[in-house]
């Protein structure tokens, strides 16, 4: 096969998988056109689900599979995709990086459109450098850390990082911008603008989902993403070469690959075009030893060589490829970091002792210990949540739980019959539950308490009782009694006063979300009473 053909096949494949990734990302929300036949709903509890396999790329990513297995001793759903990818890497090398990885494609496109360096400087930048060992350090620390009990893989796993950045920062950012425009159009007195605003909103909603999502610390997620993109100005595909732990893992497996770069020293004129076009700094030039573990399988060198001195061929050798240049020191430091980070993460005592009252995990979450072993911080649960209540943590779960999901009841609430987050979680950190299980068991995520000093009826400021109206349990966990409360004028007023029955409360937080006392609501959810913890309980 001709080299140009190969490069075009690569480009088509990259485009296809990037589009697929974006499509699944956009579909990671409750669609607007879900219909259930109501005659069927009559007889059965039906759970609303997303019709697309939105966790596909997470299943394809063997690092997610491996870290959940090492850490949580849990084989994730669809793990055979990851195994298939490893098998493919065994034979073909890091074709995932060159042909499939959507984040890699973005870096590739950015490096290719606006090359930061030219000519000799690019050739120098594309020489293999010791910094490329960093990814092996990261990989070893992540895997050792996972083994010991803290799974931080998702923070820098390319699929998780890309999904999180797009879902929590890029799309909502565009959404907020559009919302401002639409709101302005809707507010004007020009009828045609009003209608256009509605039409535009209907048109873009399939992309941005229903409503406009917002996430705490999304600005930080966005900045990190920008930095990974800007790193391409230093060297092409900087992320893939230096940082990507998945690339490192696949690099190790590529040692057995039978698709090899064959070099013909005789034909080589030392023009260095191959090195100039190399995406992975894998020493393609004849005379140097090909670094197969660094090679992203982009086939640029093959394509660029004017003399036909380079070619990729399937060759059966009894000899293995060159050992990946991991560096013993990088591995040892990784080991050390991998041991110490999980321990440092537990120093705040969250796992064993105190529970943070604001750390309200999604329904179906495993115990905190297991949660930290499985959660990839990918943001899929946050993206699908219809009320936008699930947000990345900043300090609530301590350092160990940075960017894991938790519920902020002033931003949304957990819908009583909704079980979407668990149904998409790629690793099972949030278990898939049914609406029936959630209600009948019940699965509690916390419990609620009334702040009598702020509550309107309790503080003598008049009747309210929104919390009681909205309480979804039957019988209601929030009930009221009509009692006389002194008002500001000293006269008694007969008003309904809210009380909480802790036995019935599931902590859904609709009362906190809809409480008219803004700022800090007069009724608030704390994590105490959550089903997943044996310790964090109130009642006997």
């Amino acid at each position: 096969m001709k080299a140009t053909h190969l490069v075009w096949i690569r480009r088509i494949s990259q485009g296809f998988f990037l589009v697929l990734f974006l499509f699944l990302l956009i579909e990671s929300r409750l669609p607007q056109d879900i219909y259930l036949r109501y005659s069927l709903v009559f007889l059965s509890e039906q759970d609303l689900r997303i019709g697309w396999p939105v966790a596909f790329f997470f299943q394809l990513d063997p690092l997610i599979w491996l870290s959940s297995l090492l850490s949580g001793h849990h084989l994730i759903k669809g793990f055979w995709w990851g195994i298939a990818l490893i098998l493919m890497t065994l034979f073909l090398g890091r074709v995932f990086c060159g042909f499939i990885c959507p984040l890699g494609t973005v870096h590739h496109v950015v490096s290719w459109f606006r090359p930061a360096l030219k000519g000799q400087r690019m050739i120098e930048a594309n020489q293999k450098s010791p910094s490329q060992k960093v990814k092996y350090f990261l990989l070893s620390s992540l895997l050792v850390g996972a083994l010991i009990g803290l799974n931080l893989t998702g923070l820098i796993d390319p699929i998780s990082l890309f999904f999180r950045s797009l879902a929590l920062a890029v799309l909502p950012g565009l959404g907020v911008g559009l919302k401002e425009i639409f709101d302005w159009m809707a507010k004007t007195d020009v009828r045609i603008l009003n209608q256009l605003s509605y039409g535009a909103e209907v048109l873009v909603s399939p992309v941005f989902g229903y409503g406009y999502q917002s996430y705490q610390s999304a600005w930080f997620i966005g900045i990190i993403f920008l930095i990974t993109i800007l790193l391409n100005r230093i060297r092409p595909r900087f992320w893939c070469r230096v940082l990507c732990p998945l690339g490192a893992l696949l690099g190790i497996f590529s040692r057995f690959s039978i698709l090899r770069l064959e070099k013909d020293l005789e034909k080589c004129t030392n023009c260095k075009l191959c090195t100039e076009g190399c995406q992975g700094a894998a020493s393609p030039i004849p005379g140097q030893h090909w670094e197969n573990a660094e090679c992203l399988m982009c086939f640029n060198c093959f394509d660029f060589c004017p003399e036909g001195a380079l070619s990729f061929r399937f060759t059966w050798h009894p000899k293995l490829n060159k050992k990946p240049d991991m560096g013993r020191r990088a591995l040892l430091t990784g080991l050390l970091a991998g041991i110490s980070i999980p321990l440092l993460g537990r120093l705040d005592g969250q796992v064993h002792k105190a529970s943070e009252p604001r750390l309200i995990r999604p329904p179906g979450s495993s115990t905190e210990k297991d949660f930290l072993r499985l959660c990839q911080r990918c943001g899929l649960c946050m993206k699908v949540c219809p009320t936008n209540v699930i947000n990345p943590t900043i300090g609530e779960a301590g350092m160990a739980g940075f960017w894991t999901p938790h519920l902020i009841m002033t931003q949304g609430y957990c819908e009583y019959t909704c079980t979407l987050c668990g149904s998409v979680c790629p690793t099972g950190a949030i278990r898939e539950i049914s609406a029936r299980e959630k209600i009948e068991r019940p699965i509690r995520i916390g419990s609620v308490y009334v702040d009598r000093g702020r509550c309107l009826p309790w503080s003598g400021n008049g009747p309210c009782i929104v919390c009681e109206e909205l309480c979804p349990t039957s019988p209601k966990a929030i009930y009221f009694r009509k009692e006389v409360v002194p008002g500001a004028d000293g006269k008694g007023k007969l008003v309904p006063l809210p009380y909480v029955d802790l036995k019935r409360c599931v902590g859904c937080g609709i009362c906190e979300y809809k409480c008219p006392v803004k700022g800090r609501p007069a009724i608030r959810v704390i994590s105490a009473g959550e089903s997943r913890s044996l310790k964090n309980q109130i009642l006997l």
């Binding site: 409750l30 159009m185 009747p463 209601k476 008219p516």
Partner: protein, 313 residues
């Protein structure tokens, strides 16, 4: 040619003409007769109660009969109208839990509007739970798909501050499609409600506004009446096929639901609510907003003042 009309042919022709006239007059009579009553300068107020008593009665048939009792829906919906139906789809709950309007009633009403030649029929509600989940689980989404009615999502671009001119509410964001409708049909479900004691027709207008709705509870009865005055629907059809008798307005268990197989149709919001409140064993004046509604002149809970009809199926 000689056209001689014999006595016999003359008689035959006369008979034919008079008979035809009589027949046409007879067949056309009920409709014409009623139209003259309903289309008078003073709008006659009526209340129709439809009861489904037969085993496995058809909700669709009952709805049709209830409308026929007052001359059919063509009395209210004209060809080319944009009709907005405002059901109560506040909660993401199954239809049999009676937290939302029965989809069969919704489907029947939309069907009738379409038969009457409505240009567009829209279903609009500003739900409490996520609208996608509410429309899917309550069956409203399926009804929209089946009948071709438009399902209007409560989007921020459809909320617009308007002057309500009520006693308590002056300016408030309103769900625009309801205001822009040619004909507005209120289609609530009858439910118990902790604070306002019942949620029937007038209370359903809380789902027709946007903004900080939770603050509306601070003077709920006045606000219900303010909203009812502002929206003033063409018709109110209260779905009491299943009613929620306790733990309202959200319910959640079948034991919160009672089957009444009843529909209440009226062009007087207060009267319709009054009639439906009796299903809960309450007298209308016990319900704050029904009492206030009469005081404000929106209608009457003294049902003797209205044309009362009953349809039993």
């Amino acid at each position: 040619m000689n056209h001689l009309i014999t006595r016999r042919t003359a008689l035959k022709r006369l008979l034919r003409i008079s008979g035809g006239l009589a027949l046409s007059a007879f067949s056309g009579w009920p409709r014409d007769g009623l139209r003259s009553v309903w289309a008078g300068p003073k709008k006659r107020r009526f209340i129709v109660e439809g009861l489904g008593q037969g085993e496995g009665y058809s909700v669709e048939e009952l709805t049709r009969r209830v409308f026929e009792a007052v001359g059919g829906i063509t009395q209210f919906v004209s060809k080319g109208d944009v009709v907005v139906v405002k059901p109560n789809i506040s909660w993401a709950r199954r239809p049999d839990l009676a937290a939302t309007t029965n989809p069969e009633v919704l489907e029947a009403v939309i069907g009738l509007c379409q038969e009457a030649g409505a240009r567009r029929v829209r279903i609009a509600d500003n739900t409490i739970n996520d609208p996608r989940r509410c429309f899917a689980l309550s069956g409203a989404g399926m009804v929209a798909k089946k009948t071709g009615a438009e399902l209007i999502y409560p989007r921020s671009s459809l909320m617009r501050e308007m002057k309500l001119g009520g006693n308590r509410l002056d300016v408030w964001p309103v769900f625009v499609p309801l205001v822009e409708a040619d004909k507005l049909i209120n289609l609530p479900v009858a439910k118990h409600h902790g604070l306002s004691s019942l949620t029937l027709g007038m209370k359903n207008w809380i789902g027709a506004v946007g903004g900080r709705r939770s603050a509306l509870h601070q003077d709920i009865h006045q606000i219900i009446v303010d909203l009812a005055q502002f929206f003033s629907p063409t018709l109110t059809l209260i779905d009491a096929t299943r009613i929620m008798i306790r733990n309202g307005p959200s319910g959640g268990r079948l034991s919160d639901v009672a089957t009444r197989n009843t529909l209440v149709l009226g062009n007087d919001q207060v009267a319709a609510d009054a009639k439906a409140s009796m299903l809960f064993g309450l007298s209308p004046e016990q319900v704050g907003h029904i009492f206030l509604g009469q005081k404000r002149g929106l209608g009457t809970y003294d049902l003797q003042q209205l044309d009362q009809k009953q349809v039993i199926l």
